[in-house]
């Protein structure tokens, strides 16, 4: 906070920043700048919590209301794929943490390597996800006109009305995993830039704030999935 500012820093004016090119004109000190961007990122993540929170709220209401349909819908998902994807995301979180670590200790090559690894894991995740989506497509589990309740009525012997309610489950499934996937894609695009920038040497030792902030974002996306996995895939597995 303000106490971190020394009297010497106060004297600095726009011109007195001298040496440090990375210090933007309107900040007094590097710490102030770093604290600011870190806080900014956290506040942004708070915003993200509420964004996904809206979806979780809808999920909660309908899960309580249409529990059976949710169970049936959940049982059509592929748990191994979900579990593997969870693992993949955890790996990507680790590599992301390692990337931040590399930036902190100022190893450029290592940073680029871990960013690339994170991106790779992200890509694997999306690949698995698209296989799953495709499966839903062939199963006619996409809400809308082509939605078919046949499987639930015949295989699960669900009454027609319950079978119909699975549409709500799938609507939420696609809304939630879709929003999550979009966040991953955005993250991967940014990661591309980060790799490019670090290749150009934009993050010399001591300048890891950007990487660190991006890491926060990536971990957040991971956390969302940590909740999505049990809530969507594991509602009540047939025992």
């Amino acid at each position: 906070m303000s106490d971190s500012r020394t009297a010497a820093a106060v004297e600095g004016t726009a011109t007195a920043h001298g040496g440090n090119p990375a210090l933007l004109h309107h900040f007094e000190t590097v710490e102030q700048q770093r604290d600011a961007s870190s806080l900014g990122m956290w506040v942004f993540l708070a915003q993200e919590v509420m964004f996904f929170g809206g979806l979780f709220c809808v999920y909660l209401v309908y899960r309580l209301k249409y529990y059976e349909a949710f169970v049936a819908g959940s049982n059509t998902l592929n748990v191994p794929m979900g579990a593997i994807n969870t693992g993949v995301l955890i790996c990507s979180s680790l590599t992301m943490a390692m990337a931040v670590y590399s930036a902190q200790i100022g190893k450029r090559k290592m940073l680029m390597f871990f960013l690339a690894a994170t991106m790779l894991f992200g890509a694997v995740f999306l690949g698995v996800k698209s296989v799953e989506y495709k499966q839903k497509f062939t199963d006619h589990h996409i809400p809308g006109a082509s939605f078919s309740t046949a499987e639930f009525e015949q295989k699960d012997h669900l009454p027609r009305d319950v079978a119909n309610e699975t549409q709500i489950y799938f609507s939420l499934y696609f809304a939630m995993t879709g929003m999550h996937a979009i966040h991953m894609i955005v993250g991967m695009v940014i990661m591309g830039f980060l790799i490019f920038h670090s290749w150009r040497g934009k993050y010399p030792p001591g300048h890891y704030t950007t990487i660190e902030n991006f890491g926060l974002y990536w971990h957040f996306v991971d956390i969302v999935w940590i909740f999505l996995f049990p809530l969507l895939y594991l509602i009540s597995r047939r025992h």
Partner: protein, 339 residues
């Protein structure tokens, strides 16, 4: 010419609402006078003049507490009063006369238990509580009779209720007050409050296609409900006789009261609540019976008193959903029955 400033009072609830309204106005006037008065006094007294220097005051804890606690107390009073009123106005008295409403874009359709149907008009007798049970066929509408101070949104997919007891004969505005698309402002009608005798006369006029319950009975047969719901022991479905208003035990252990909402749910999404001791084999009738049909079926089920006795419509409600509701006058229900 016609330039009213205050709405007519034509229901038992209206004076109560107005009383709170006047009290609120009094509170508002009090605070407005207080604050505007202070603003004006200060403006005059402490106007900048030559040599006048402002006296600095940092604040005062006692004052802060005063103007926190007094409004808080007033607020709580208002809350209790308003909530009480609302509670009363949302709880239909025991034995209220029932009328159903099935609005859609952009008309009001009402059905009386004896089979009278009206559009954009609602006839009710004076001095008898009337309970409106309504469901929309498309978007959200809202049933609003200013003279009764009564309003409730009418939702698709779910019953909502309102009740009133008219006190003065005459005709009053009926508005749709929830925005519902192009002709929202044309979705209006009139409520005719009549002397009971006149009302009887109106009822005995063109009757239409028989009572609601009897069309329900026809549906019950044509939809083949009776193949499963019979009163003999071998029936696949539970016996519906005397069901309305009774508690029902479900397979999941819970108990629910068989009210309109439950009956509707049982017909359209039968597997939502399974009666204990039965299999979830009842098919859904969603898309096959419209809301009016469902209401007719419900009305029919309500009248199933004992086996195969097509009881006359609109006998008193059994206790149950209304248990604990205060008794209302006009409980007996003469005249709605037809020979």
């Amino acid at each position: 010419a016609n330039f009213p400033l205050f709405p007519q009072q034509a229901s038992t609830g209206a004076p109560h609402v107005d009383a709170l309204y006047f009290f609120l106005i009094a509170v508002t006037v009090f605070f407005c006078v207080l604050i505007f008065g202070l603003l004006i006094t200060f403006s005059l007294k402490f106007r900048a003049r030559k040599g006048r220097v402002a006296t600095q005051i940092e604040g005062s804890l006692p004052l802060e507490l005063t103007w926190t606690i007094i409004p808080l107390i007033i607020s709580l009073g208002l809350y209790v009063w308003g909530a009480n009123l609302y509670f009363e106005m949302r709880r239909p008295p025991l034995g209220a006369m029932e009328i159903y409403g099935v609005p859609k874009q952009w008309m009001w359709k009402f059905e009386h238990p004896d089979g009278h149907r009206e559009i954009n008009e609602l006839h009710v007798p004076v001095g008898r509580p009337v309970k409106m049970t309504m469901i929309s066929q498309d978007v959200i509408h809202s049933f609003f009779v200013p003279a009764f101070r009564v309003k409730t949104d009418v939702l698709p997919g779910r019953y909502t209720t309102a009740w009133f007891e008219a006190t003065t004969t005459g005709h009053y505005h009926l508005f749709c007050s929830q925005y519902c698309g192009t002709k929202h402002s044309a979705m209006i009608g009139e409520v005719f409050v009549m002397e009971p005798a006149q009302y009887e006369q109106w009822l005995s006029g063109s009757a239409g296609e028989g009572s609601l319950a009897s069309s329900g009975e026809k549906l019950f047969q044509s939809m083949a409900c009776n193949t499963c719901h019979r009163s003999d022991s071998g029936a696949r479905g539970p016996n519906l006789v005397g069901l309305f208003g009774k508690p029902v035990k479900l397979t999941n252990g819970a108990t629910v009261i068989a009210d309109e909402a439950y009956l509707r749910e049982s017909i359209l999404t039968p597997s939502a609540k399974i009666v204990a001791g039965f299999q979830p084999i009842m098919p859904t009738f969603q898309g096959q019976i419209n809301e009016e049909g469902v209401l007719a079926l419900i009305q029919y089920i309500k009248t199933m008193k004992d086996a195969q006795n097509l009881a006359p419509t609109n006998t008193q409600n059994p206790p149950g959903p209304d248990a604990g509701a205060r008794p209302a006058k006009g409980m007996q229900n003469p005249g709605t029955q037809k020979p």
